[in-house]
């Protein structure tokens, strides 16, 4: 019962998504209208860790929690890329993760989008030039948007995802 009374006491913890902060978002190209129309209300995301330090993962995990609550926008996470519409890729792509990343991309049914999260995903960050790194995400699979930051805030990531599907809030 303590749990239920605590739930009632806390109430709704979701914060409204603050506007602005578009400086960290880089849309590589205008997203296909068809994809925008299809994913406007329901978007399934498969998160792929292509060798990150897990800093971005921690921020992304906040997205599913009560404060940032991506689900209110119809954005939810799925386990299999076959169920996914959008791949959320983090980390400089390490050599071991290059092939799995490509396989994940191939396993995702069309139409699909890719958002690369974090500085490492765009520029390999501090790992640039390392022997273990194969390249940035757009060198391995086609990317639709980058969200800069090390790590970016959950609001930035969420706004990036929403921008890619054409839902600016």
């Amino acid at each position: 019962m303590r749990l239920l009374s605590k739930i009632l006491r806390v109430g709704l913890a979701t914060e409204p998504l603050a506007p602005g902060g578009d400086d960290v978002l880089r849309l590589l190209h205008e997203v296909d209208a068809r994809a925008r129309q299809l994913f406007g209300r329901a978007l399934a995301i498969r998160e792929v860790d292509a060798g990150s330090c897990n800093g971005c993962e921690l921020e992304i995990s906040g997205l599913m929690g009560p404060v940032y609550d991506s689900e209110r926008f119809g954005v939810y996470f799925v386990a299999s890329p076959r169920h996914a519409d959008l791949l959320l890729v983090t980390g400089p792509v390490t050599r071991n993760m290059a092939v799995p990343l490509v396989k994940t991309y191939e396993a995702t049914p069309a139409p699909k989008l890719v958002v690369a999260v974090g500085d490492c995903a765009r520029t390999c960050g501090v790992f640039k030039g390392s022997y273990a790194v194969a390249g940035s995400v757009d060198q391995i699979i086609p990317v639709d948007a980058f969200v800069d930051g090390c790590p970016p805030e959950p609001t930035a990531i969420l706004r990036g995802i929403l921008a890619v599907i054409g839902r600016r809030r």
Binding site: P81, M97, V99, P100, E106, A107, P109, A110
Partner: protein
């Protein structure tokens, strides 16, 4: 009918082998089967019995007498029905034995087997019955022994021979007690004489019949020959043995218990239900753990015979309680399940034979992906698997529904211990249905789906036409028996009516497409359910075609979390599939595990090989039969002392025996 099988037998013996020899044998089987089926239908639907007497042959024991009444006609029809597809199938199947084993013997024995099996239900006196029964056992022994090169065959045949003769001895004892009071050994006289037997004698006869015929039927604990003999025999022989021969055990029990003795106290039924429930659960649990496809099917036969015995037990129980209408329904439901089991189990065995023919292995852990190489076999096996799992709208579901419904009146009964027994029976029925479904998802899924697990499975090829036709006939039969329940049930009830105190005006079981219980308790329509399913599937497909996207289907690698390659080693195995159930029922299985890992000599981080061995306890073999066999061996060694080889000793035995007989004649003259 005689002509058909006779031609087949003699022809097979005389032909030099090759296609013609196989053809003659198969032709004989089909002709004989069709004739038997026609005869049985004539008796079942016509109502008049068919008699034939040959009193001069072997007149010392009242000669041979044949009388085909409705009950026997059902079982004769069963033999004939299965002889046809198995004959057609066998034509190509035994082609693989060319040069390795004697096809003449196989063909001859198979036709004789079918002949004797057909004549068992026709027998009208003790001699005929036992002669035919023994003939059936001997011919099937030789059939099991066909593949004598395989390691387990001889042992399996030995077990089978021993148990079938023990069963024969017990059944013979039962018949002799019955005949003690009667004038002749004709069944008619036995029936009238049985009325004057004391209850203790009747109970003894029933128990002896149960033990004798039960061992042929394969109920626990007399089932141990089944999982050995059925896999060892050629597949169409296994189909016949599992489909028909074990049903003749049911026939024997019904003949003695129901027809000759006319039913008995309610505890007979309770005993049958208990044994049936035990067989059903043991059978399905051991089937789940099997990796050998044919052994899995054999254990599944044990399970289904258990279900038939539950129905029979309910019938005897209701008869003992004078609820004759409910008894009739229960018996009819049991017979219907026996019919359906014959259809789908044979289909499954023929399918397994096709797999064996293509890949030379029965081990499911070496199969897989066969749906591509053997599409027809896969489709037929799927029909069989759906039927045996009791899924609508096929025949297995209809007979399980009928068994459920026949048990229901018992739950309301106020007689002592009936309601708990019925509740037990219902739970066991449901549990085995669920477990059987799980077992056959495993059997079909691991054998036919996914990727081939061995090179043999990779290059498997489809079965030849005759084998496919044989399987096809049975698949159609499965569907027909499910949809035509309204017609089949009254026919079965008619087969039983008149025996014992079962009511002769047979109640209706619904009309048109709807099957209903005579008490009005429940109704359902397998035909309309099937129709509905087809319509909805079609409608769904159409709607999806119209409204879904027009993207073409893209073929890609299986999603494996991005792993680089997929090998067959990464798939689920048959052992793995059954593992959760093995854990759940660990108290019964008492699984032992033995894991040995060979590490690389240089470093423990690298593994060279892993050997994993897991065994479950075969309770009956280890704790019942092994001590029994050891004891019998010891006695035989002790008794062998009598065979000293000395003529003097033998003469002494003769004298003692003569003196004993003379004394006996003096003491009890006449």
């Amino acid at each position: 009918m005689l002509g058909g099988y006779g031609v087949g037998a003699v022809g097979a013996l005389l032909m030099p082998g090759g296609r013609a020899g196989r053809g003659i044998a198969a032709f004989g089987m089909v002709w004989g089967g069709a004739a038997g089926l026609a005869l049985s239908l004539q008796v079942l639907l016509g109502g008049a019995a068919f008699t034939l007497e040959v009193p001069t042959l072997l007149s010392i024991a009242d000669g041979l007498a044949f009388r085909l009444d409705a009950l026997g006609a059902f079982f004769l029809g069963l033999v004939g029905l299965l002889a046809i597809p198995c004959g057609v199938y066998g034509f190509e199947y035994v082609g693989a034995y060319e040069g390795r084993y004697s096809l003449r013997l196989l063909g001859a024995m198979l036709n004789m087997f079918l002949l004797t099996m057909s004549l068992v239900p026709c027998a009208d006196n003790v001699l005929t019955f036992l002669l035919m029964w023994e003939g059936m056992s001997l011919t099937s022994y030789f059939l099991v022994l066909t593949e004598a090169d395989e390691p387990d065959t001889i042992a399996a045949a030995g077990w089978y021979l021993a148990m079938t003769h023990v069963g024969l001895a017990l059944a013979l004892a039962g018949f002799l007690i019955l005949a003690a009071n009667a004038t002749t050994t004709a069944f008619g006289d036995l029936r009238t004489a049985a009325a004057s037997l004391t209850p203790a004698m009747r109970n003894t006869v029933f128990l002896l019949a149960l033990a004798g015929f039960g061992s042929k039927a394969g109920i626990v604990p007399l089932h141990v020959w089944l999982p050995r003999a059925h896999p060892a025999a050629p597949s169409h022989v296994s189909a016949l043995m599992s489909g028909v021969m074990i049903k003749l055990g049911v026939y024997g029990l019904l003949r003695i218990g129901l027809d000759l003795l006319g039913g008995g106290p309610a505890w007979w039924g309770a005993l049958l239900i208990g044994l049936g429930a035990l067989s059903a659960v043991v059978g399905v649990l051991y089937a789940l753990m099997e990796n050998d496809l044919k052994r899995l099917l054999a254990y599944s036969s044990v399970e289904n015979i258990g279900l038939v015995f539950i129905g029979l037990g309910a019938g005897f129980l209701f008869l003992g309680l004078d609820a004759t209408a409910a008894a009739l329904v229960a018996f009819a439901a049991a017979l219907y399940h026996a019919l359906n089991h014959a259809a789908f189990k044979s289909l499954l065995f023929l399918g397994a034979g096709s797999v064996l023919h293509a890949t030379r292995t029965r081990d499911m852990n070496r199969l897989g992906g066969l749906i591509r190489g053997l599409p027809w076999t896969a489709a037929f096996f799927l029909v069989g698997a759906l039927a045996i799992a009791g899924l609508p709208p096929l025949n297995g579901f209809v007979s399980e529904w009928l068994l459920f419904q026949s048990l229901l009146p018992g739950i309301e009964s106020r007689a002592p211990m009936v309601a708990p027994l019925m509740t037990l029976a219902v739970s066991v029925l449901a549990l085995t249905a669920g477990l059987a479904a799980a077992g056959f998802v495993k059997a079909f899924g691991i054998t036919f789906l996914a990727i081939p697990r061995s090179p043999a499975a990779e290059c498997a090829h489809e079965a030849p036409v005759s084998m496919r036709v044989g399987m096809g006939i049975l698949a159609v039969a499965c569907a027909v028996f499910g949809l035509a329940a309204v017609v089949v049930m009254p026919a079965l009830a008619a087969a039983l009516a008149g025996s014992a105190r079962l009511p002769v005006p047979v109640p209706g079981f619904g009309s048109g497409v709807s099957l209903s219980m005579p008490s009005g308790f429940a109704r359902m329509s397998p035909t309309l359910v099937a129709l509905g399913l087809i319509l909805i599937t079609g409608a769904a497909w159409l709607v999806v075609r119209l409204f879904a996207s027009r993207w073409p289907v893209r073929v890609s690698a299986t999603w494996g979390c991005g792993r680089v390659v997929q090998t067959p080693r990464m798939e689920y195995t048959s052992t793995a599939f059954a593992e959760p159930l093995r854990r759940v029922f660990a108290e019964l299985y008492r699984p032992t595990q033995d894991l040995s890992i060979d590490f690389h000599p240089e470093s423990r981080y690298f593994v060279q090989s892993i050997e994993y061995r897991s065994e479950i306890v075969p309770w009956f073999e280890r704790y019942l039969y092994a001590p029994l066999v050891t004891r019998v061996r010891r006695w035989s060694i002790w008794v062998r002392a009598l065979q000293s080889g000395s003529a003097h000793a033998y003469l002494t035995y003769l004298v003692i025996a003569l003196l004993g007989l003379l004394t006996l004649l003096i003491v009890r003259p006449g």
